[in-house]
Assembly symmetry: C2
Homo-oligomer: 132 residues x 2
């Protein structure tokens, strides 16, 4: 039974011993963000995912999917066929995570130019060896 949204969460990620930190570390991750965004469009097979998330290696994809499955964010459906077919999809829990993560990746896309400009300016500035 999950608490209604009105209830105050007993957890606080700012506390080191809070278990919610372990899941924050899991979801605040670039691969997780991209995988969840892709899976939000519907079930994907392993190779489909690897193609969609350009540049990810098979091992990293496999590891990440396993962790997400363990956390109940992704579900795995293996069909006993030849050649083998496995489909990954978002659980309801994972779907609730989609919005926050999509916001993040959208932010990255929308503000990358500003970020790049800042980086250029920062890197052009002399190091703060002496007091300015």
């Amino acid at each position: 039974m999950s608490p209604p949204t009105t209830s105050t969460p007993a957890w606080n990620v700012l506390v080191a011993t809070c278990p919610s930190r372990t899941s924050l570390a899991e979801i605040a991750n670039k691969w997780t963000a991209m995988i969840v965004v892709v899976l939000s469009e519907g079930p994907h097979r392993f190779t489909q995912l690897r193609d969609a998330v350009d540049g990810i290696s098979g091992k990293v994809l496999s590891d990440t999917l396993k962790r997400l499955e363990r956390d109940g964010i992704v579900s795995r459906a293996a069909y006993d066929e030849m050649p083998p077919r496995v489909e990954y999809s978002l659980t309801p829990l994972g779907q609730s995570l989609h919005e926050p993560l999509r916001s993040l990746s959208r932010w990255a896309e929308a503000h990358i130019e500003q970020v790049l400009e800042h980086r250029d300016a920062y890197d052009a500035r002399p190091p703060r060896t002496t007091l300015g």
Copy 2:
């Protein structure tokens, strides 16, 4: 089809060569999330931040703040006093990042119990050595 947002982002994090990936990697990070959430309440000094983000080490805080400053997300104000005083705050760019990141940490807090239950169930299940 792309949604009718105000401006169409030319960037796509799913493409490996897209520069927005570099900023996604930066912001999709547990320390960044916690720091931005804390700074959203107002400027903080270094030690205040280290206390607020429980468990973070001085080096990691310093490194992360430097990266965030470089990206234009955090601004640093050093006052030439004795003892030294430095205040960190969110730039307007950083403030625009607050909502997405707060959503993430709230998700972690709100769903940690479900996540823990899934982990227990997953770990209790025998390994998938043979076909199920």
